[in-house]
Amino acid sequence: MPLDASLLVQMLLGALLGLSVYLPLRAGQLSLATPGFYAIGGYTAALLSTRFPALAGDGALYPLPSLLLELVLAALIAGALALAIGGPVLKLKGIYLAIATIALVEILRVLNLNLGFTGGATGLFAIPQPFEGPVGYLLLSLAVLALVCWLCARLERLRLGRAMEAIREDELAAACMGLDTARVKLLSFLFSALVAAVAGVISAHFLNTWNARQGSFDASITTLAFVVFGGSRTWLGPVVGGLALTALPELLRPVGDLRLVVYGLVILLGPILFPQGLITPELLRRLRWPFRQTSAEAPAP
């Protein structure tokens, strides 16, 4: 049974990264900066927990308040960076934004390799553990994912969410209607950075080690695949896509040598067979999913 607690944690982290790509995409912005913010989260956690003995406490386990501190600090750093670069970068459109954000991820990766305190190519290791085993991580990531999902579901009913939707449909029209499109886009970029940084913090502890390989171009594309595969019209899409595509290579182990060929085949066929992704708002309506977002039925805010 390859679906053990440890794989489930990786799947939940995949779902979080999927949501991080989804949030700007909701406002029509194809940002692939997620792995960059994820790396910032990971390095923050790895540095704090391995370089500051005061945080490690006296017990066998790494104290949860220290973990909370890492989460807050990582969110602050990632958020500040997102606000700083978001303004100029979000003026770019479509594929140009995508490539500019990939460039950002690569610049961060090279910096992380070259800056002395990040441990260079070997990275940082012996990261202390806040939990006895994977089940602790499972509960933590489940709680974080549930919180982010709940916020996303709320967002879809709020003014801000509708503004994002409007920009996605037609940015020019949205601006003409008096929406502050720059601010809405920046907020969606900020949310994306926060979610990725939080995932990075959990991931660094879970992986026991952190290095510059963790936030790369490959990750940019894989996380985008989560969203396209799962569906980009509702928050449940990237969650399902992240869970499924993270688990897939592991579930395919019985296939043996052809494992990654089959994985490639699934990625190839996914968009062709499900152009809207696996999860669409129509599907949810048919299944009478309680979080559905049709604004007509939503109670007035």
Partner: protein, 310 residues
């Protein structure tokens, strides 16, 4: 002065490879408005095809271990045929990953992911067949040419000169073909305005195939040339070039042939001019440059402002 010349030559020769790579991306983008993520895999296949056609043997791993073709072709012929082979693979990628989506007029983002899947399949199949060893096209393919020549005090490897010459030739031929021939003009018409092109009786499906074929050919030739000048570093080796090529493509401006060339040369030169003590930052320089250019010119250096796809 010698030193500066040396840096310029180094930069231009690595820029030539980037440019060849980006040209293939740009042809497909100009017609479909999509980036073909399987392009790096096609490039890799071109390198392996060239290696096999000049009589190279597959290593000790993989299903085809020890395979060697019963004939040996001279390098120029092998390179051309490898380009044709790569073009065929590129057409296959188009048929599998792009055509079904195009028929439905789907979001270009989908083709990006399905072509990524096609690339994953190609690379992993290649590994199953030939293993993960590295190869290089023997220097004897160059005949009796000297290993390096001196140009006004700068030392240049002969293979690099050859590579620059072929890259220049490719750009000239490609430009002439696009500007002068019926096929090239039709391709440009489709890129400018698919609807009008259809009204003029141009079969846009055929044009897309043409773009993929030419793009695959360019990738295959680039792969073979890199295999000669450096090596074929296993089935994954096109991926690094793919990422760099993407940066080059955007720097020059999506869909622009001169842009791809300019972008390639600029990135090559910028990397060459990084002081030796900071060579660890080389990759970041290319992307920092790209980042800065995008902020100043949101459509790249020579990008056309009319593209609204994606």
């Amino acid at each position: 002065m010698d030193h500066l010349l040396q840096l310029l030559v180094n930069g231009l020769s690595s820029g030539a490879v980037y440019a060849l790579f980006a040209l293939g991306y740009t042809l497909v983008f100009s017609v479909l408005g999509v980036i073909n993520f399987a392009h790096g895999a096609v490039f890799t296949l071109g390198a392996y095809f060239t290696y096999l056609l000049i009589g190279g043997a597959v290593g000790a791993n993989g299903l085809l271990a020890g395979l060697q073709l019963p004939f040996t072709l001279p390098f120029p012929l092998a390179l051309l045929l490898a380009g044709v082979g790569a073009a065929a693979v590129s057409l296959l990628v188009e048929a599998a990953a792009f055509r079904p989506l195009r028929r439905r007029g789907a979001d270009p983002l989908l083709a990006l992911i399905s072509s990524l899947g096609a690339g994953v399949i190609l690379v992993n199949l290649l590994q199953l067949l030939v293993g993960a060893e590295s190869y290089a096209i023997p220097t004897s393919a160059l005949g009796t040419l000297p290993a390096a020549v001196s140009l006004g005090g700068a030392q240049v490897r002969t293979v690099q000169l050859l590579l620059m010459a072929i890259a220049a030739l490719v750009v000239v031929v490609l430009t002439l073909w696009l500007e002068r021939s019926r096929g090239g003009k039709a391709l440009q018409a489709v890129a400018e305005d698919p609807t009008t092109a259809r009204l003029l009786g141009i079969n846009s499906d055929r044009m897309v195939q043409l773009a993929f074929g030419v793009s695959g050919f360019l990738a295959g030739v680039a792969g073979g040339l890199v295999g000669l000048s450096v090596s074929i570093a296993g089935p994954y080796f096109g991926i690094g070039y793919g990422l760099k090529g993407l940066g080059v493509l955007v720097l020059g401006g999506l869909g622009s042939v001169p842009g791809a060339v300019l972008g390639g040369l600029i990135v090559g030169l910028a990397e060459a001019l990084v002081p030796a003590d900071y060579s660890g930052f080389k990759d970041a320089v290319a992307y920092a440059f790209l980042f800065a250019v995008l902020l100043l010119r949101p459509r790249g250096l020579l990008g056309r402002p009319t593209i609204t796809k994606v």
